[in-house]
């Protein structure tokens, strides 16, 4: 492991990997990425892997639109020899209560204004897109064909492999235990494998973002929360788009491999780092999804697991610098949608570090917004 670097990225999830790759691509030479476990072992590898433009808040819509632009060419850009499995079969957002339907109709107006071509559908029209869908109790749906999903392991690994080809160093099983700072300037990091002096440190530690930030005295207003998820055996095509409902709290996608991945939010989930799994989740998840797509009744669950959302007060990420700490950057608090934002966030954080013109305006997503009271609330999170 290098003992001096131009930048150290903390976190081998998709966000850290995307930042490291973009820094190297823009020409920074000595970059080390430290990951306490292995690639995609925190939130990334446990996520539902969806990518959507159908948000309610302008910031999320703009960022995801830019991220999908990158996803569309990512396989080629990263020259990856496996498949990142990016497919665009859309998201079908299902409204089961009137309030949800009203929200969708508000969202779609914002989406149209920003150039997202989502359409509002009747239950019958939704069924034309997903013939296996049970439309009972459905108010309506919105559909955006440009949304989709990708393989989170391979997407992360593709970024890391491209980063290594550009000369970057990836250190797995290397935990950052401290960040050195003197007179408000970052000096480097201490790790379980030795010290690295570096003028730039990027906190992309996902669920561990707050403990890492506290190493430089930054108090992040985020908390972690377990979200459970399961995957079935592979079966023939049951549905193409990602299915999602906020009132019922679920999302589900059928991967290119044929297995069906699904998760559900639990309003009673306590804050914390528990990533155990419960059988009550299996019961509730299966109950809901068997009513949404009755054909799932005969499909077997092969595995369940859980991962952590790192939630910010307004469900938007916290990006950029912190005044008074020269050389410290963070990309944290993604609130359950870090995977889909990573391509654009990786690019824009690298641009910020290297003083380049930013591809997208993220000025309102700094940590200072919480003190200013300038929150941008996102109504559409599972």
């Amino acid at each position: 492991m290098k003992t001096t670097a131009d930048a150290v990225v903390i976190g081998g999830g998709v966000v850290g990997a995307a930042i490291a790759y973009n820094l190297a691509k823009y020409g920074l030479k000595n970059i080390v990425l430290c990951e306490k476990d292995t690639f995609a072992s925190g939130s990334t590898g446990r996520c539902g892997a969806g990518v959507r433009e159908q948000w309610g808040a302008e910031g999320n819509i703009r960022m995801c639109k830019a991220a999908i632009d990158i996803f569309e060419n990512l396989q080629e850009e990263l020259e990856y020899d496996y498949d990142i499995e990016f497919v665009q079969k859309g998201y079908l957002m299902l409204a089961y209560i009137e309030k949800e339907w009203e929200q969708f109709n508000v969202n779609i107006k914002v989406q149209h204004k920003l150039g997202v071509n989502a359409v509002a559908l009747t239950p019958q029209e939704a069924r034309e897109i997903v013939p296996t869908l049970n439309t009972e109790g459905l108010y309506g749906a919105t559909f955006n064909a440009r949304d989709g999903h990708a393989n989170p392991f391979h997407t992360t690994r593709a970024y890391l492999k491209a980063f290594e080809r550009l000369g970057g160093e990836v250190c797995f099983f290397t935990e950052v235990t401290g960040i050195e700072k003197t007179n408000g300037r970052i000096q480097g990091v201490k790790t379980t494998k030795g010290d690295i002096s570096a003028p730039v440190v990027v906190n992309a530690a996902g669920p561990w973002a707050a403990p890492v930030a506290s190493m430089v005295g930054v108090d992040l207003p985020v908390y972690t929360e377990r979200h459970q998820i399961l995957v079935t055996e592979p079966v023939g095509r049951l549905f193409d788009p990602m299915l999602m409902s906020f009132s019922r709290g679920f999302y589900s996608q059928q991967t290119p491999h044929g297995s069906v991945v699904m998760g559900i939010g639990d309003p009673n989930e306590p804050k914390g780092y528990d990533i155990g799994h419960s059988w009550q989740f299996l019961r509730r998840m299966c109950d809901i999804m068997c009513s949404v797509v009755p054909a799932l009744e005969g499909v077997r669950v092969v595995r369940q697991w859980s991962g952590l959302y790192t939630i910010s007060p307004d469900a938007h990420p916290i990006l950029g610098t912190v005044p008074g700490i020269d050389g410290y950057y963070h990309a944290v608090g993604f609130s359950g949608h870090g995977f889909m934002l990573a391509p654009i966030v990786g690019k824009v954080i690298a641009e910020m570090i290297l003083d380049k013109e930013l591809s997208i305006d993220i000025s309102g997503l700094d940590l200072g917004r919480f003190e200013r009271g300038d929150l941008r609330v996102e109504p559409s999170v599972v």
């Binding site: 055996e233 509730r284 998840m285 109950d287 092969v302 369940q304």
Partner: protein, 121 residues
């Protein structure tokens, strides 16, 4: 000698010995990494067949003992269970009624996924 590209190591996901060895050569040092790259161990048997074979390949390549190879977690359910069987548990008894709500969700081995013996069905 057989070609490593025709030897199936993970029968559920059709992963060959050649694919496993490629992932290891490219830097995988643990079962989880091989699994994430190749899908070996992600199928219906959850690695019951291939887990040790993959661990053996990793150990051989890195000249370690198999016991030193980092294992991946075992995840429930132990055997694949139909979603309809889990859903049936929700119908009567409702939430948090483990006793009263106990229906006959079989994992195919005469036991409910919660470990209780199943009668009937």
């Amino acid at each position: 000698m057989s070609d490593e590209n025709t030897i199936i190591v993970c029968r559920c996901e059709d992963v060959t010995l050649g694919e496993i060895r490629k992932a290891i050569r490219e830097g995988a040092t643990t079962l989880d990494e091989v699994k994430r790259i190749t899908r070996a161990g992600m199928g219906p048997c959850q690695g019951r067949t291939c887990r040790l074979l993959v661990a053996g390949e990793i150990a051989r390549y890195h000249r370690k003992h198999v016991s030193e190879v980092l294992q991946s977690r075992y995840r429930p359910p132990v055997k694949p269970v139909k979603m309809g069987d889990f859903a049936a548990l929700s119908e009567e008894g409702g939430n948090s009624q483990e006793e009263g709500g106990h229906r006959q969700a079989t994992g195919g081995d005469g036991q409910c996924i919660c470990g209780k013996a199943v009668t009937g069905k």
